[in-house]
């Protein structure tokens, strides 16, 4: 479905995380032929709840922030990374501690926040394969040399590049 996503309406890319949810809004998505043609994000941000609040409060804070920008930018399409359980120590430790369930809950809250349309869920493997974060950031830097990337934001912008077909040339 996403391979065919070309739209002149704003698209919101989200990398959900309770410690920080990266978002990037693109005014449209078209398949770019080269990195020079890449459509830059209009808006990027990292949403976090107050660190002294409970995890569920943080989730609802992030959800309402996403609802706000979705409304403000008149977003009509959302691409969201959906978490998976990988056969690695870190992933299993995260699942065992309950973090994966919290993250899944956050995804649900965000999906509800962008009400009125169904978000497009993509797995990390689908959009970035096995690229490490630093490589994703370098590729974003090739497209948008002046874009300042905060932690957690790179994946949201990276998803936008992937949707434009230029994360990997």
């Amino acid at each position: 479905m996403l391979a065919k996503l070309e739209t002149t309406e704003p698209v919101l890319c989200i990398d959900p995380g309770i410690g920080g949810t990266g978002v990037a809004v693109f005014r449209s998505i078209t398949k770019a032929k080269s990195r020079e043609d890449a459509i830059p994000p209009q808006y990027t941000e990292v949403f976090r709840g107050a660190s002294d609040s409970s995890w569920d409060d943080q989730v609802y804070h992030i959800g309402s922030a996403v609802a706000g920008i979705s409304e403000f930018w008149k977003v009509r399409h959302t691409i969201m990374e959906f978490p998976g359980l990988w056969n690695t120590g870190v992933s299993h430790a995260s699942a065992a501690s309950g973090d994966l369930f919290k993250l899944t809950f956050l995804c649900g809250v965000i999906a509800q926040a962008v009400h009125g349309y169904k978000p497009i869920l993509v797995s990390p493997q689908q959009w970035k394969g096995q690229l490490p974060k630093d490589v994703v950031m370098r590729r974003i830097g090739l497209c948008f040399p002046t874009l300042e990337l905060k932690d957690h934001m790179a994946d949201a912008v990276g998803m936008g590049l992937w949707a434009q077909g230029i994360l990997s040339l």
């Binding site: 056969n87 299993h92 699942a95 065992a96 959009w127 970035k128 394969g129 096995q130 690229l131 490589v135 370098r138 590729r139 994360l167 990997s168 040339l169």
Partner: protein
């Protein structure tokens, strides 16, 4: 003049006389095929008018060894169920042969082998235990068919590649059940426990004992060491270095997933690029960009190994073809085996090496890793290794022979600080921990190297 049995073959033969459905878990080159053939020849055919009908299911590369063994035993030409489906089916239905050979994937195009009305087999032999995974189609096919065949055989050198769970389907093939359970899933649920993540399963202490006791009673198992047939092996590692420009390209590919302006997001693609670079090829073009390994190979063959029968193993065809061109240009006679040849062509090439007409045999690993006899060679050079511990072991054992007393020499051509070294280390690790994912092992080795 019949070939005499060796003492361990006599013991194996005595075991097969006692068992209706025998399992010979004997390491490679210990002569289990001969035992199986001679025992089957003693079976009373279901239809004496037609004579004995035996189906042998084996990896494609092992079929020729079966033909050779049958010929050596004075048997008529077996019917090889290979090639086009129509031909296979015609052979299956009408060939007047005692022995029928089919490769292990053959059941997909020729499921009729299991139809009793077409062929009522006196015995079905599965060679190189390929029914280890209970989920695999091939396992389901063989476990659900041939149930009233009078004699079901299992031959294997390494029956448990990954873990002891793999014994269940193999014993179930013989007996319809194994370890007291009629289904694998019952057995796993009751006799094994998952780890905390639920991905790996470990046997309960009593399970390990049950497996050992059952195998001790049910199968005939033998290692080369126990048979006194383990030859001395020597390993030499030749470390080569990339020229500076290829080193830079390699490091960039490894770090940034980019090679010659081509990008990828997938680790597996990157690993393939890196491995091909080590062999001297840029996989994105494709183009030969470096000839360090080829020159080293030529130096070895024309120098220290001059006149010594040598098998050179390759993972990629382009490497094999480049080496072939180089040897031809250097006027060195050689034979070669790779996937684009027909089975007959491959056999012709193998024979010319085995008969000593040429001293060098270039082999693409996938075509000869199972069952093929290359015991004319005493030396193997690994131009590139395959990322599979079992395939590596299988290729190494192609040179073994019960009559051989010489030391076997294995030479590995590795590029310094590269995936070649990582893969070599990972394959050594996998020998010790068969459950270790090779990809993880490579990643760990690469991380350690980069650190």
């Amino acid at each position: 003049m019949p070939r005499p049995f060796r003492p361990h073959q006599q013991a194996a033969f005595a075991y097969t006389l006692r068992q209706r459905h025998p399992a010979l878990f004997m390491e490679m080159r210990l002569g289990k095929t001969l035992v199986a053939i001679r025992r089957c020849l003693l079976y009373k055919p279901l239809n004496p008018m037609l004579g004995l009908r035996v189906l042998v299911v084996a990896p494609g590369s092992a079929l020729q060894s079966w033909k050779d063994e049958l010929q050596a035993e004075g048997q008529d030409e077996p019917a090889a169920l290979t090639g086009e489906r129509s031909l296979r089916l015609a052979l299956l239905m009408y060939a007047n042969a005692n022995w029928f050979l089919i490769n292990r994937e053959g059941f997909l195009s020729l499921p009729e082998i299991a139809i009793k009305a077409i062929r009522n087999w006196d015995a079905v032999i599965l060679d190189e235990s390929f029914i280890r995974n209970p989920r695999a189609k091939v396992t389901k096919f063989f476990l659900s068919n041939f149930r009233d065949c009078p004699h079901r055989w299992m031959l294997s050198g390494t029956p448990n590649h990954e873990n002891d769970m793999e014994f269940w389907p193999q014993l179930a093939w013989l007996d319809g059940q194994a370890f007291g359970y009629r289904t694998f899933w019952d057995w796993r649920a009751k006799e094994w426990q998952p780890d905390l993540q639920g991905y790996n399963w470990y046997p309960l202490p009593s399970t390990t004992k049950t497996i050992r006791d059952t195998l001790a009673k049910r199968v005939y198992a033998l290692r080369r060491t126990d048979a006194g047939a383990e030859p001395t092996k020597e390993t030499i590692i030749r470390i080569l270095e990339f020229p500076p420009e290829i080193r830079i390209a390699y490091d960039t590919a490894e770090k940034d997933f980019v090679l010659s302006n081509t990008e990828t997001t997938y680790a597996i693609v990157k690993y393939n690029w890196l491995r091909q670079l080590c062999g001297g090829f840029d996989a994105t073009k494709p183009l030969k960009v470096w000839d360090g390994k080829l020159r080293e190979l030529l130096d070895l063959i024309t120098g220290e190994l001059r006149g010594i029968p040598t098998v050179v193993w390759f993972h990629y065809n382009q490497e094999l073809l480049a080496a072939l061109n180089l040897l031809i240009a250097s006027k060195i006679g050689c034979a070669f085996l790779y996937g684009k040849q027909s089975l007959a062509e491959r056999e012709g090439q193998r024979q010319s090496f085995q008969q000593g007409k040429v001293n060098v045999l270039l082999v693409q690993q996938a075509v000869a890793q199972m069952g093929m006899n290359l015991d004319h060679a005493d030396t193997a050079i690994y131009y590139s290794q395959t990322p599979s511990a079992i395939a590596t072991q299988q290729t190494a054992d192609r040179m073994l022979s019960l009559n051989k007393k010489t030391t076997l020499l294995y030479i590995y051509l590795l590029v310094k600080d590269s995936i070649d070294e990582d893969l070599h280390e990972a394959l050594k690790l996998k020998k010790w921990s068969s459950n270790l994912s090779l990809v993880h092992a490579i990643k760990e080795a690469a991380r350690a190297r980069q650190a």
